[in-house]
Amino acid sequence: MDEQRTDMNNNSNPIIIRTDHVRKTFPMGPTTLVALDDISLDFKRGGFAGLVGPSGSGKTTLLNIIGSLDVPTSGNAMVLGRRVESLSHKQSAALRNRHIGFIFQTFNLLPVYTVFENVEFPLLLQNLAGSRRRKLVMDALEWVGLADRADSRPGQLSGGQSQRVAIARAVVKKPELVLADEPTANLDAKNSHHIMRTMVHLNENLGITFIFATHDEKVMGYLKREITLNDGRVAQDRAIAGRTT
C-alpha cells in the first residue's frame, strides 16, 4: 500500500471513502496547474477529520472530489461504495442528495426561502411526505438551536445563525458524510466554537462522518484526525490523541 495511506482501519468502523493515487489538474492558459498529486487516503465512518493547509494546497479540490462535485484527472475515488469518476451527473446528484451534506464558507443559504424552507430543501428533493419533512426539519433545527427562527429569512440572521442553518440543512437528511469547506471562516471566535461544538455533538450522537477543509486553528482544535496538504500532496496525516472516536 502507499506510504501516505494511514492505517486507520484498526477498529470496527468501516472505511467509507478511499482515494487512490488521485491527481487533479486544471488548465491555466498554456500551463497546467496541479491541484492534487497522488492523494491516497482512507476515511472511516464516524470520523471527524480535517484537511488543513495553506490556500491553494488542494483542500477544497479534494473535498469537491469526495463530494462528487468534481472528478479526479487520474486515479480513483471511492465514496460510500461508488466510484466518483464513473458516476453520471444524475447518479452523483443522487449520491449528494441522499448521503452527503455540504457546509460552505459563505453559508450558501437560498435567500428567498425561510430557515425552515432552506433546511427542508434536501428533503423536498427526496420527495418525502410533508409531515415527515416537518418533523425532520424541526429536529434538525432543534439540534442547532434554531427552532424558534424557523420562519426567519436568511437576511434576518447573524453569520453564526446562518451557518447553523447550513449545518441543519446538511444533516437534516441524516447523511453518512458531511463535508464542510472553511465553515468558520466568516465567523467570530465565539460563533466558531459554537459551530464546532454543534458539529462534534452531531458527530458523536448521530454518527455522521465530518470532513473539514480548513486553515482555522479553532477548527483544528476539535479535529480527531488532521491531514495536512501542501502543494496538492499529503504532507502529514495524524490522529489526534485523546480525540479519536
Partner: protein, 390 residues
C-alpha cells in the same frame, strides 16, 4: 411537483423584480385579448350590419351587373325572372333597380345612383317605409354620409337627371323624405333610395330589377337563367379581406407590447443565470441535477406568464367585461374607415381567444425563459459554487 413548487417559491420570493415582469406581461395579456376582442366584435358588428342593411341572405345579380364597374349599369337590368317571382310575392326577395343619375345639390352636379326599392320591403333594415304615401312626387331616402357630402337635409328638393331605357335624358325634382343614420356606407355614399315603381316608371323599365336580395334563410334556387347567384361568402369576401388587413395592422401594437414584455423576462432570466450561479451550485451540491436546475429556472420564467394571467384576470376581467357591455366609443372620422362601424364597438371575447392568448403568452414566455438557461447545462458545480460564469 417539486420543481413547480420551488419555482413558485423563488418567483414569489423575488419580490419587486417579479411584479415588474408580471405587470408588464399582464398588460400585454390584457392588450392582446382586448384588441383581438375589439377586432372580433368589430368584425361581427360589421358583418351583421352589412348583412342586415345590404346583403341579407344573399343576392341574385342580373348577369351584366358588376357593382365595381359603373359602365355595366346601363345594361344591368332585366325583368324579375319567373323563378324568383314567388319569393318576391311572398316578400322573401326584394328586387332592386339601380340606375345611374346626376343630381344638382346646391347648384353643383354630382354623380349618384338611383336605387329603386319596394317601400314595404322587410328584408333589409333600410327604413324604406318613409318612401310610402307620396303618389305625386319622388320621395328619396339618403344616408347621413350622403347628406353630409351633398349638404342635403330632410325636406330639401334636389334636381335629378337620368336616362330612360331608350337612352333619353329626363329630369325632375326629388324630395329628401328622410336622412337615415346607417353604419353601412355601402347603402349610403352617392345613393338615393326611391320607390321601385317610381324608378321603373321614370326609366320605362316596368317589372325590371338589377339585383334581388333574398331574405336570410330563404333558399337559393339552383339556377336562374340570366341571373347570377351571389352567396354571402362571395358578397362578404372583400369586406373580410379588408377587415383582415386592418386586423393585421392592429396586431402590430400588441406584438410590440408582447416583445417588450418578453424582453423584460429574457433580461431577468439572463440576469438570473448570471447572478444566481452560486445558488445553482448550491442546488447541485444539495442534489439537484442540471436538468432539474434548468427546468427550475425555465419554469420560473414561465411562471411569470401564469402570474401575469392571474394579475390580468384581477384587473383585466372587470375592464374587459365593462368594455364588452358598454362598448368602445369611436370618433366621427371612423365613418370613413371603409366598412360599417357603429358609434360604439362592443368587443367580443371567445373562449378560443382567451385560451389561445394564454397559450401564446405561455409558450413564448417559456421559450424566452429557456434560452438563457441552456448555459446551465455547461455549468460545473464547483465553478458555480465559486460564482464563475458558465
Amino acid at each position: 411537483m417539486i420543481i413547480p413548487r420551488l419555482a413558485f417559491r423563488n418567483v414569489w420570493g423575488a419580490g419587486l423584480r417579479t411584479w415588474l415582469n408580471v405587470i408588464s406581461l399582464s398588460f400585454a395579456f390584457v392588450a392582446i385579448i382586448f384588441l383581438q376582442g375589439l377586432y372580433n366584435g368589430m368584425s361581427r358588428q360589421v358583418e351583421k350590419a352589412t348583412m342586415d342593411a345590404q346583403y341579407a341572405g344573399g343576392h341574385y345579380w342580373q348577369e351584366d351587373y358588376d357593382p365595381y364597374d359603373p359602365l355595366t349599369l346601363d345594361d344591368a337590368h332585366a325583368v324579375v325572372p319567373p323563378a324568383l317571382a314567388d319569393q318576391v310575392a311572398a316578400g322573401d326577395a326584394v328586387p332592386i333597380l339601380v340606375r345611374p343619375a346626376t343630381i344638382y345639390p346646391n347648384g353643383r352636379f354630382q354623380n349618384a345612383l338611383l336605387k329603386g326599392i319596394p317601400p314595404d320591403q322587410s328584408v333589409l333594415t333600410i327604413p324604406t317605409h318613409v318612401l310610402s304615401g307620396d303618389e305625386t312626387g319622388i320621395p328619396a331616402l339618403i344616408g347621413h354620409r350622403m347628406a353630409r357630402t351633398t349638404g342635403l337635409v330632410k325636406g330639401d328638393y334636389v334636381t335629378v337627371r337620368w336616362r330612360d331605357a331608350g337612352g333619353t335624358f329626363d329630369a325632375d325634382e326629388i324630395r329628401i323624405a328622410e336622412v337615415m343614420q346607417t353604419d353601412v356606407s355601402g347603402i349610403d355614399f352617392g345613393q338615393l333610395w326611391i320607390p321601385l315603381e317610381k324608378l321603373r316608371a321614370m326609366t320605362t323599365m316596368p317589372g325590371q330589377a338589377t339585383f334581388m336580395v333574398l331574405r336570410r334563410g330563404s333558399p337559393f334556387k339552383e339556377s336562374v337563367p340570366g341571373w347570377k347567384h351571389r352567396d354571402l361568402d362571395f358578397l362578404l369576401k372583400d369586406l373580410r379581406a379588408l377587415f383582415m388587413s386592418k386586423s393585421l395592422g392592429g396586431s402590430v401594437f400588441y406584438i410590440v407590447l408582447l416583445l417588450l414584455a418578453m424582453l423584460a423576462i429574457f433580461n431577468t432570466q439572463v440576469l438570473s443565470v448570471f447572478r444566481r450561479r452560486k445558488e445553482m451550485g448550491t442546488l447541485m451540491a444539495l442534489g439537484m441535477t442540471r436538468q432539474k436546475v434548468i427546468a427550475l429556472f425555465t419554469l420560473e420564467g414561465a411562471m411569470y406568464a401564469v402570474l401575469a394571467g392571474l394579475a390580468a384576470a384581477v384587473y383585466g376581467l372587470p375592464l374587459l367585461l365593462y368594455m364588452a357591455t358598454h362598448g368602445f366609443g369611436l370618433p366621427e372620422a371612423t365613418d370613413n374607415f371603409g366598412f360599417a362601424m357603429g358609434n360604439r364597438i362592443f368587443p367580443t371575447y371567445t373562449a378560443g381567444l382567451i385560451l389561445g392568448t394564454t397559450l401564446l403568452v405561455l409558450v413564448v414566455t417559456t421559450v424566452v425563459s429557456y434560452l438563457p438557461t441552456r448555459k446551465i447545462a455547461k455549468l460545473n458545480p464547483t465553478d458555480a459554487l465559486k460564482g464563475k460564469r458558465p
